[in-house]
Amino acid sequence: MANNNQHPQLTGAEILWATLVGEGTTTIFGYPGGAILPIYDALRKFPIHHVLVRHEQGASHMADGYARASGKVGVCMATSGPGATNLVTGIATAMLDSIPVVCITGQVSSKVLGSDAFQEVDITGITLPITKHNYLVTRAEDIAATVREAFQVARSGRPGPVLVDITKDAQQATAAFDFEAAAPEPHRDHPMLKAESAAMQQAIELIRTAKKPVILAGHGIVESGAREQVIAFAERMNIPVASTLLGLGAFPTTHPLSLGMMGMHGESWVNHAIQEADLLLAFGMRFDDRVTGNLAHYAPNAKKIHIEIDPSEINKNVKVDVALIGDLAKTLDQLLPMLPTSQDTAWIDEINTSKGTAAVRDIINLPDNGHLYAAHVINDIWREAKAAGRLDQTIIVTDVGQHQMWEAQYYKHDAPRSLITSGGLGTMGFALPAAIGAKAACPEKDVWVIAGDGGFQMTACELSTIAQEGYAINIAVINNGFLGMVRQWQEAFYDKNYAASPILSPDFVMLAGAHGIAGAHVSERKNVIPTVTKARTSGKAFLINFQVEKEDGVYPMIAPGAALHEMVRRPTKDPLLETAEDK
């Protein structure tokens, strides 16, 4: 054997941990089992903290939350068979939102592969369409190079999840370990990734002649680290900025040029601005159907410039006039020096004027009528953090549904990575485990879970993980006794046929109590902020059950098939009392 003297002989399991340490992994989320026991046997020899989850779906969401909060690659681990299949929802969530995650799964011994052995499942086959790439490793000597390549694939270009399936015999066999020699070949840039000067010139020309430009700010700004460039770009020409859900916080929401979230539940002025625009600058976003509405009527007067790292997104949904394929920050760096300056505020003034009536109708501006609305709760969580000066030190992790949209509307995100939410896949049950990942990544920050009573119960078992790890995570359950978004759609499109949307929940405060986690019930607005403060300053996990209006709706709303400007506005005449059950 060559290199015996220079490089230590390690087992495959030890090689895996040593490689993870070398890649900078400090925390891993997982659950042991038969086919991964050799790896767990070596765990304690290495400086990596292992968080024991209660369900493997939690492990993949935690790795996802860890990656979203820190910008580093999140790592999760599960055994073969059911352990691996339980990861699937979390992997798909990371895929749809382009989150760098590496999943390690144990696999039965290579000698019995394909024989339907106990707890054998073809996880590389199962995850093929929901990973950026995946690997099956059957030899100890391949582990280091494969895992290093997996990290590179996960974080390069458009990030995404990667799965490495390692057979039990590969974990047990020994091989020489050389971290440096296992380095992958440098990432090959996509050959289409050459920003062309001709296209650049075309883009500048379109920007120069535009009277009503709008920037569409997407998640790519966060992944590319292009925040400063986008702010400079917008300020140079007074271009208003609309955000996608995952783009919230990429551009400061309280910036005078920020319009807020666009799309299905975007404010009326944002969507009207897009429909009236003569130029759309799409920065790291993919014209998802939730932001375009009916494509046939989307931004009919606008030229479109798309800056995007993934060439397969160009013209996928919306035909663009100029496509600049490449890293957003680098492309903007090239564009900025050529960009003219303008002090013209006519366009942003016009948009601000159109806010008028919408702002008055906003629930936040209505007097306290004795009812508690989710919008109040979320807005008060933001106010409380702001008053405490903790805004850049607060991460909100939402679940999926009405509360998610209210969060996007009423929590003003100024900092990138301050909102963690499942956008593309819309995974209920995401919030609690993702928050655990976020807290593990950023222990110094305040982490809030905002979840509905439905989604919270999907992964509520992870309360026990919080208790075991002693994480000080604050949990706000927005409890309206319904699967709220389903109920709203049934109300709007299915004649209020509330089939299977009412949901009975346990007493969440008692549930938290059973895990040794403190909690409180809140049903009046005056108690929101004091309880939020109590939770934030308790230094421990704290659950608040907010008992809110049962039949409240998220507005504005664009019905399926409707154009972006054909939104259902907030009802004008004290809407909330009309739909609320009076006491």
Partner: protein
């Protein structure tokens, strides 16, 4: 319309599944797919023919390139490439045939006209081998059938494609020198100008 893509991919287990799965996800029917060795030891060459809207080509190409196993992708049109298919046809003929021994000689004549070769002669059948464009193969099959013969088996490889002339050297250059040296930066044949890229016409999924 029919699109023909040439993809250079790593020669590893599971690569075919990844490519096939991509077409499945895009709901595009593969008309033919051939895989074989290329001039590089660790790289396989695939020719994929698929039926898709004219405007889908860019997205298919970009999506193919997104697969980690893909080294290079090229879309070739009929005029700029040599596109060939190999076909084996087994026809019932021989002493037992109604035409008797004469049945064989007629097949030989047809084979000569179409430049097909006789590769097997059995008491009750003849096997022909033919290379050519798909239309030529279909022509031979049609003529055999119309002449009253029974075709027992047909096996076709599906199309293989290679760019003509200078494109070939360009691709070779992009792939590195013949001694196997890897390219510093693969040259993605030609990047379409943005005004050539038109939106795809996949069924509208926006419900």
């Amino acid at each position: 319309m029919l699109h023909t893509f040439v993809a250079l991919v790593s020669d590893k287990p599971g690569v075919l599944t990844r490519v096939a799965s991509l077409f499945r996800r895009l709901s595009i029917n593969i008309v033919s797919l051939t895989v074989g060795e290329s001039e590089r030891p660790d790289v396989s060459r695939m020719t994929i023919v698929c039926e898709a809207p004219e405007t889908a080509a860019h997205r298919i190409k970009a999506s193919l390139y997104k697969l980690e196993i893909t080294v290079d992708v090229d879309e070739v049109g009929r005029s700029e490439a040599v596109i060939r298919e190999l076909c084996l046809i087994k026809v019932a003929a021989g002493p037992a045939h109604p035409l008797g021994q004469h049945s064989r000689s007629q097949i030989f004549e047809l084979a000569t006209v179409f430049r097909a070769r006789v590769v097997d002669l059995a008491p009750e059948s003849i096997m022909l081998e033919m290379t050519g464009a798909a239309s030529k193969i279909e022509g031979l099959i049609q003529v055999i059938t119309e002449s009253g013969y029974t075709i027992l088996e047909v096996s076709r490889t599906g199309r293989m494609a290679m760019r003509r002339g200078h494109h070939t050297s360009r691709v070779l250059k992009a792939l590195g020198t013949p001694n196997g040296e890897k390219p510093a930066s693969p040259d993605f044949a030609t990047k379409p100008a943005t005004d050539e890229i038109v939106p795809n016409q996949f069924p509208d999924i926006h419900e």
